[in-house]
């Protein structure tokens, strides 16, 4: 029984679903099991910072707390083709360099406003930032998907109904 509960606690909850942790105990590896893409602990930490910038913690949990950066990795690993995966990793790897050239420090060390400005520059494909646009597009799409479909949002904020038991085609819009 003890072993069972130990295994259970090792499962990582990302947005409400368990993801298998990495089998590797080697330091410096990503914390979840990935089949196709190679991600190390530093890249994972950087992605967590970017995810937190996209959906930050305020009075409601943010991306890091919901482990949405791990959800992005899972989706990129299983649901994107090689071309996307390559663009994703290249873009992720360029983030610190972009932050340094713009603000003189690595992404994680930038202040919140700088981080958002950088993401805006990337999505507007400004100059060098263009190299990370494909990465950011994937990351943002997946983080929004993961957030809106997270257990937290679907139970605490916008209740998902498994069994509506009704249909009204003339529901007052004011009450919606």
């Amino acid at each position: 029984m003890k072993r069972r509960s130990a295994i259970k606690s090792l499962v990582i909850i990302a947005g409400g679903i368990a993801i298998m942790p990495s089998c590797s105990t080697e330091p410096g590896k990503a914390s979840i099991d990935l089949k196709k893409i190679n991600i190390n602990a530093d890249q994972e930490a950087l992605l967590a910072e970017i995810a937190e910038t996209i959906i930050p913690k305020n009075n409601k949990p943010g991306a890091k707390e919901l482990n949405l950066h791990l959800f992005i990795l899972k989706m990129v690993d299983d649901c994107h083709n090689e071309e996307d995966q390559k663009a994703f990793i290249e873009g992720l790897n360029s983030m610190d360099k972009l932050a340094k050239s713009k603000y003189g420090s690595a992404f994680a060390a930038c202040d919140p406003k700088q981080k958002i400005n950088l993401l805006n520059a990337i999505s507007k494909e400004e100059g060098d930032a263009k190299g990370a646009t494909a990465f950011l597009k994937i990351a943002k799409r997946r983080i929004i998907q993961g957030f809106m479909n997270s257990k937290y949002v679907m139970t605490d904020l916008k209740k998902y109904e498994l069994v509506p038991g009704r249909y009204n085609g003339y529901f007052p819009a004011k009450q919606a």
Binding site: G15, G16, I17, I19, T53, I54, I55, P56, N58, K60, G62, K74, M75, D78, C79, H80, N81, P112, I116, L119, N120, K140, I144, Q145, G146, F147, M148, N149, S150, K151, V153, M154, L157, K158, Y160, L162, V163, P164, G165, R166, Y167, N168, G169, Y170, F171, P172, A173, K174, A176
Partner: protein, 571 residues
């Protein structure tokens, strides 16, 4: 349920054999067992017990690892079914892996299959409309295929029979071209669907927008409670299998009903190789089966055989049933077996927006999807330069405008507070295609599947009539939308390969004349009277209705006839 354990011929002999447990096979088995016939129901895939074997049915969206998306590795194993709208992370276990079940596409054909007990009845779209005499008289009036050997009056009581049991929601719309049935209360049209209905009534003669009719129990009757089924709960997660039995499937309805009679033997993992023909007796005596797991060959025997393997697999089995008497396939004296295959043309959609009715939205979910537009082209007389016509689905929903620009707190707030946008409206065509000798299936002479059965080779394509019909649908619906005040009206051609409609039909068509058809008016092979075909293979023409309800009615009607003939000693 009796177990098949013994090896003796006696243990392998039944009154009736039904090949296939999908929507039509389930009905054949139900009707035959209710009449007291010991019936063997063969299914090539695994068993799927109602509720117990619906692994995803109560999962919440965030409990799916990929939030409903199918991972690319799985798509690679199933490139064809991956194109099906219903193939998702929550339903993929009810579709096969294409690579395990190869076939030859002489022309592109997306053959969508579900190899398990219940077949595609678990994952169907549940739309159910009766045919009318405008459909049955089509081939004779318009000079294609052959005349149907039946008319509406022959099948009408059987439509009633299956509708009452299955549970069909709908309105009595009083339309000659789409006869009313035994309906449970309809799912009403919403504000904009009704608005469109009124606009079309005002602007056109003989065009109607009605509530879609569907196999959903909107108000359960005793016969549904007796099946252990209850009211549809508007989940619209149907293709996972419904824990309420809210929609009709073989698994929820006909198969457990047949089991309760004590006369059913269900044998999953039974791939039918061929039907055994006895040259002396001049009739079929049984079925040769390959066990899907052990690959052992086993023979089962019965007085009557119902072939309900799904349209193209029924063709395959008959083509592979070779004897001295029938060197080209069972009952195939006419050499028409496998020919005149047709389907439904879903190649185009028309969409738009409506800026009015903003005081309304919808709440809950509509399990039948919205509205249905019965065929209005060439119904009462030929009026265009193409033959036949199309029905269409029509639905409206209030859109949600979410501002997902930017990053940070503002983005987070916007995501959580979407605004109601305009109503979006959409329609899709369901066109009749004309059966032709040049649209056919054959057996490949060399390639076999993992069970040693020849692979099916499919050569089916669109023609000029289909192209003209697509254009007409696009023009007419664009005009209907524009006249109704919809804006941003857009046509979108989908270029689907045949097959993706999952309404493939024909190859073993019914007809009066044994020289030009395979089956008589009782779905009985003209030349092998104890073999009945009541799935999509029997269809002489396709018309525009979703076909499953008609297969159910054919199955019940043929089972009734077969039992009577058996009692008279005619089979």
């Amino acid at each position: 349920m009796p177990e098949i354990t013994g090896d003796s011929i006696k243990d392998r002999t039944f009154d009736a054999i039904v090949i296939g447990s999908g929507i039509s096979g389930g009905w054949s088995a139900k009707e035959l067992t209710e009449k007291g016939l010991k019936t063997l129901l063969l299914e090539r895939g695994r068993d799927v017990k109602h509720i117990k074997d619906y692994p995803t049915t109560n999962k919440l969206p965030y409990e799916f690892e990929h939030r409903g998306e199918v991972p690319l590795d799985i798509q690679k194993e199933a490139p064809i079914v991956s194109r099906c709208y219903a193939f998702r992370e929550d339903t993929l276990h009810f579709f096969l892996k294409d690579k395990e079940h190869p076939y030859i596409e002489q022309k592109p054909f997306d053959w969508i299959r579900g190899y398990q007990v219940g077949g595609k009845s678990l994952i169907w779209a549940r739309q159910t409309q009766r045919w009318s005499d405008f459909d049955f008289e089509g081939p004779a009036r318009d000079g294609f295929a052959v005349d149907w050997p039946i008319r509406y009056k022959d099948i009408a009581p059987w439509y009633s029979h299956v509708e009452k049991f299955a549970g069909i929601s709908g309105n009595r719309d009083g339309l000659a071209e789409l006869p009313d049935g035994e309906f449970l209360p309809s799912y009403p049209l919403n504000a904009v669907e009704n608005y469109f209905k009124e606009q079309v009534n005002k602007n056109y003669k003989n065009r109607h927008i009605i509530s879609a009719r569907g196999a959903h129990i909107s108000k359960p009757q005793q016969v549904h409670f007796d099946q252990g089924r209850g009211q549809c709960q508007n989940r619209t997660l149907c293709q996972r299998g419904c824990p309420f039995g809210g929609y009709f499937s073989s698994n929820a309805s006909t198969i457990p009903w047949a089991e309760k009679t004590g006369n059913l033997t269900l044998r999953p993992f039974s791939v039918v190789h061929s039907i055994i023909y006895d040259e002396q007796k001049g009739k079929a005596t049984g079925v040769k089966v390959i066990d899907a797991n052990t690959k052992q060959e086993i023979e089962f025997y019965a007085k009557i055989i119902f072939v309900n393997a799904a349209a193209l697999n029924t063709n395959l089995i008959l083509l592979n049933s070779i004897s001295k008497r029938f060197p080209n396939g069972l009952g195939n004296d006419s050499d028409l077996l496998g020919k005149y295959v047709a389907f439904h043309n879903y190649s185009s959609t028309v969409s738009g927006e409506y800026d009015g009715m903003k005081e309304f939205t919808t709440d809950g979910r509509n399990p039948v999807g919205g509205g249905y537009v019965p065929r209005f082209r060439n119904v009462f007389k030929q009026e265009t330069d193409f033959l036949r016509g199309y029905a269409a689905g029509f639905s409206a929903r209030r859109s949600q405008d979410t501002d997902s620009s930017g990053f940070g707190d503002a983005l987070k707030e916007n995501l959580l507070n979407p605004k109601l946008g305009p109503w979006r409206v959409g329609s899709h065509m369901m066109g009749e295609t004309i059966p032709k000798a040049t649209n056919f299936v054959t057996l490949d002479k060399n390639l076999k599947d993992a069970w040693g059965i020849p692979q099916l080779s499919i050569s089916v394509d669109y023609d000029d009539n289909d192209q003209k019909m697509i254009k007409d649908y696009e023009d007419e619906f664009s005009e209907m939308f524009t006249k109704a005040g919809f804006t941003n009206v857009k046509v979108s051609r989908t270029q689907k390969a045949p097959g993706l409609d999952i309404h493939e039909m024909g190859g073993v068509r019914m007809g009066n004349d044994p020289r030009t058809s395979l089956l008589n008016k009782w779905n009985q092979l003209h030349h092998c009277k104890n073999v009945f075909v009541t799935d999509g293979a029997c269809m002489t023409s396709t018309s525009t209705q979703n076909p499953s309800l008609t297969y159910m009615a054919f199955s019940a009607r043929a089972a009734d006839y077969a039992f009577a003939e058996l009692k008279k000693g005619n089979l």
